[in-house]
């Protein structure tokens, strides 16, 4: 889907083959009943295929395959969507990107290197309120202690993969302004509460921080920089999520198209009725549009273009609105079987519903873009 260069095509082929082998639908259905869906061996192999290094500069131990790591990561993310695959793809890559951009040499030599090697997984405490009026609602506070150490307290909702991750990246309010911190999840005072949710294979937890004492070296970036850094991570998030949604929609669409050819009603294929054809034409067009805007966002972000944030926001505003609707349309065109557990379609519906809500909705990202437009317009006026 997102591969445009020969190197990306190679990444696509190897990742597709690997995911097909490790996560056939039968395996996903088994995992649905498990408390943990994380497989360290699979993750290490994925890291060897390049899944964890794409947003990290070569100097920091990473590397892209095409020169644009955001676009490369979309190749992988879309396949995670296509296969409804588990794995801490988002958290690990976001945390790795943060450490590579703003981390200390010690953070890069330690936690980042482990993330890149697939030896550890990252979790992102994304408690951000995208596009909210009056800025963010902070849920964690950092209180300075002696020698630059800090004590964190607060509660971080809905952290993906927290149970298996080694480190949590979280932004805390601090006297010097909001700052990001890297919290070892085995630190004293950290407790996890498993949550339940609609995705069958992704696990989420609430992470409570009770007076968690961290050394000076835990801060990522300078004090007060976290607002802008969080925005940059949200931009990356948008690129990854939109690609994953496109992959999931692609699967739902393809199976539905096949179904309308094979299923007969009143003596002719469903797909011979214009009412059905037109709906699939709409779905196909929205899928193409979604892929196009997602890819455009990665292009802009990867190149560090000034309009990268606008593209990322436009992509989420559009794809998060359309993707669940297309998959629901696919459900509708299946009739009764469409709302059963037996049909695989729900695997992809679950994925797009989570992706389109958990980190900010289409409306939130539309508002984010609206603000950018309004600011520009204000300057021009």
């Amino acid at each position: 889907m997102f591969a445009t260069t020969p190197d990306q095509e190679l990444l696509e082929r190897t990742t597709a083959r690997f995911l097909e082998d490790r996560y056939p639908v039968s395996r996903l259905r088994e995992l649905a009943d498990r408390t943990s869906t994380f497989d360290p061996a699979v993750w290490r192999e994925g890291a060897a295929l390049g899944w964890t290094s794409l947003l990290v500069a070569e100097g920091a131990g990473g590397g892209s395959v095409s020169g644009n790591g955001v676009a490369d990561l979309q190749v992988v993310a879309s396949l995670f969507g296509l296969h409804a695959a588990p794995g801490p793809l988002l958290g690990t890559n976001v945390v790795a990107a943060a450490l590579a951009r703003w981390g200390t040499p010690e953070q890069q030599a330690g936690p980042l290197a482990a993330l890149l090697a697939g030896e550890a997984a990252g979790a992102w405490g994304h408690a951000t309120t995208v596009g909210a009026p009056g800025g963010r609602r902070r849920v964690v506070t950092a209180t300075p202690a002696a020698d630059g150490a800090v004590v964190l307290s607060g509660s971080v909702a809905t952290v993906e993969g927290a149970a298996e991750a080694t480190h949590l990246l979280v932004t805390a309010d601090a006297p010097g302004g909001p700052s990001q911190h890297l919290v070892p999840l085995d630190a004293a005072g950290v407790s996890l509460t498993a949550l339940r949710g609609v995705d069958l294979t992704r696990r989420y937890a609430r992470v409570d921080l009770h007076d968690v004492a961290l050394p000076a070296g835990s801060r990522v970036g300078a004090p007060g920089e976290a607002d802008e850094h969080d925005e940059q991570l949200v931009d990356l998030l948008a690129a990854v999520l939109t690609a994953e949604m496109v992959g999931a929609v692609q699967r739902a669409f393809t199976t539905t198209l096949e179904w309308t050819v094979d299923r007969y009603s009143f003596g002719r294929p469903l797909g011979s009725y214009q009412a059905i054809k037109h709906r699939l034409a709409d779905a196909r067009t929205q899928l193409e549009a979604s892929e196009a805007v997602a890819a455009r966002a990665a292009e802009a972000l990867g190149a560090g273009a000034p309009d990268g944030r606008a593209w990322a926001s436009a992509a989420m505003a559009h794809v998060a609105a359309r993707a669940p609707e297309i998959v629901q349309e696919c459900v509708q065109l299946h009739g009764g079987i469409g709302v059963t557990y037996e049909l695989d379609l729900h695997l992809y519906l679950r994925r797009v519903v989570v992706d389109s809500q958990l980190y900010g909705s289409a409306t939130d990202f539309a508002r984010r873009l609206g603000r950018l437009v309004a600011d520009d317009e204000g300057r021009a006026a």
């Binding site: 455009r296 559009h318 873009l369 309004a374 317009e377």
Partner: protein, 423 residues
């Protein structure tokens, strides 16, 4: 200049300098001419605007920036689509002959380039590029536009000439055009698609009666033409006799590139800043109304802007995929469908944000009038250039390979049912 082709960067730099010295800035308050506030003023306004377009086109020609992808012998620059794209980027912020791009350059010039005779290309293309010949599409008929192959307008051969009779309708700019490309039936005794031929003739030819049609926003840009014994030289026939449907394939293809991606269109993409329904214009409306900080308004602004950006991204990626063969040419129908539905949605968003002020306004308030009147003709975006329903047919049948619709138009065209309205 040497024989070697100028690089895109050098070309863009030259264009930048030339534009600054030769083209007037775009007037963002000018409003799109079919949405003019006072209907009585609309016609005079449109007349003036077309004169300006012709002049701007002539300037482009004199500056060596017309027909960037057209061969030199026809007055073009023989450069590449990348050069045209670069020029279009540089054009942002300048006034340019936007209103005469469609019909004249796509599809008419594009069709002539592909299927015209050498004589036709030499006679017409340089004039088109100089702004001296504006072309119209005489395609839709009162009996139907979607089913273009059902044309009833008839051409009968008379030696080296043809005599045309019939009627064409919904012609954009029929009244200001110099030449027309016209589909006509040359054989009623064969199947529908096999008896058609494409002709061209001056709109001022004897027997062509052009009548304005008033649209519901007051615009009188559209025309109906009555053709009575119009004599056309055989050398003005485009393509072979009874092979008109082959020509139509390319005609409709180029028409669909209106949504973007054509190498023959000179446009800054979005003169949309001047259109009442793009994100920035909606933000300006809201600022005026004092509700730009309302989260729901910001959402509307963001949604409208996102739709424009998605269209832009999609034009780029689908064009690239069609060029590389990753998608067939029929994929252009997705661009048509998306731009049609996205445009109507943006029009609704603009109306929602402007609210009551866009339905009753102070005389002369073009900004609000364009929103209200634009909303009235909203569906034109899903009709003109082929309807979105036809695009959905193309996507489902040609792109997705779904079963074709059952049809009832086989056998000699003479015997195909035409319904009571068609006579």
């Amino acid at each position: 200049m040497s024989d070697e082709q100028e690089s895109v960067e050098e070309f863009a730099a030259r264009a930048r300098t030339w534009l600054a010295a030769n083209m007037p800035p775009a007037d963002p308050t000018a409003g799109y001419f079919s949405f003019h506030e006072d209907p009585a003023d609309s016609q005079a306004h449109a007349d003036r605007r077309i004169a300006v377009c012709r002049d701007l086109q002539a300037r482009l020609f004199d500056g060596g920036f017309a027909g960037i992808c057209v061969p030199r012998q026809y007055g073009g620059q023989a450069l590449t689509p990348a050069h045209q794209a670069a020029f279009n980027r540089e054009l942002r912020g300048y006034d340019h002959p936007l209103e005469i791009q469609v019909s004249t350059f796509i599809p008419c010039m594009a069709v002539l380039l592909e299927l015209g005779t050498e004589d036709q290309k030499l006679r017409h293309i340089p004039k088109m590029l100089r702004g001296e010949e504006v072309w119209a599409q005489f395609l839709s008929e009162p009996s139907g536009g979607s089913d273009a192959a059902g044309a009833l307008t008839t051409a009968v051969r008379d030696g080296d000439q043809w005599v045309l009779n019939g009627s064409k309708i919904w012609t954009t700019g029929g009244w200001y055009s110099d030449w027309a490309m016209c589909l006509a039936r040359t054989n009623w005794d064969v199947e529908k698609h096999r008896g058609l031929t494409v002709f061209s003739f001056p709109v001022s030819a004897e027997g062509v009666d052009v009548q304005h049609i008033q649209l519901l926003n007051g615009s009188r840009e559209f025309c109906q033409e009555f053709l009575t014994d119009v004599v056309v030289d055989d050398r003005d026939r485009i393509g072979e006799v009874d092979e008109g449907w082959t020509v139509m394939g390319r005609w409709l293809y180029h028409e669909r590139t209106v949504a973007g991606g054509s190498p023959y269109v000179t446009t800054a993409g979005a003169k949309s800043a001047a259109l009442p329904n793009d994100g920035p214009a909606i933000a300006a409306l809201a600022r005026r109304g004092g509700n730009l900080d309302d989260p729901a308004v910001l959402e509307a602004v963001g949604e409208a802007r996102a739709l424009s950006m998605v269209s832009e991204a999609m034009v780029g990626s689908v064009s690239r995929k069609m060029a590389s063969g990753a998608l067939p040419q029929h994929a252009a129908a997705m661009l048509r469908l998306f731009s049609g539905t996205a445009t109507t949605r943006r029009t609704t968003l603009a109306l929602d944000v402007a609210g009551h002020e866009a339905v009753v306004w102070e005389p002369g308030d073009e900004q609000l009038a364009s929103v209200g009147l634009g909303y009235l003709v909203r569906q034109a975006a899903q009709i003109g250039g082929g309807t979105v329903e036809m695009a959905r047919n193309v996507i489902s049948e040609r792109l997705l390979g779904m079963p074709r619709e059952q049809r009832n138009d086989g056998g000699p065209f003479r015997d195909v049912p035409r319904g009571p309205a068609a006579g």
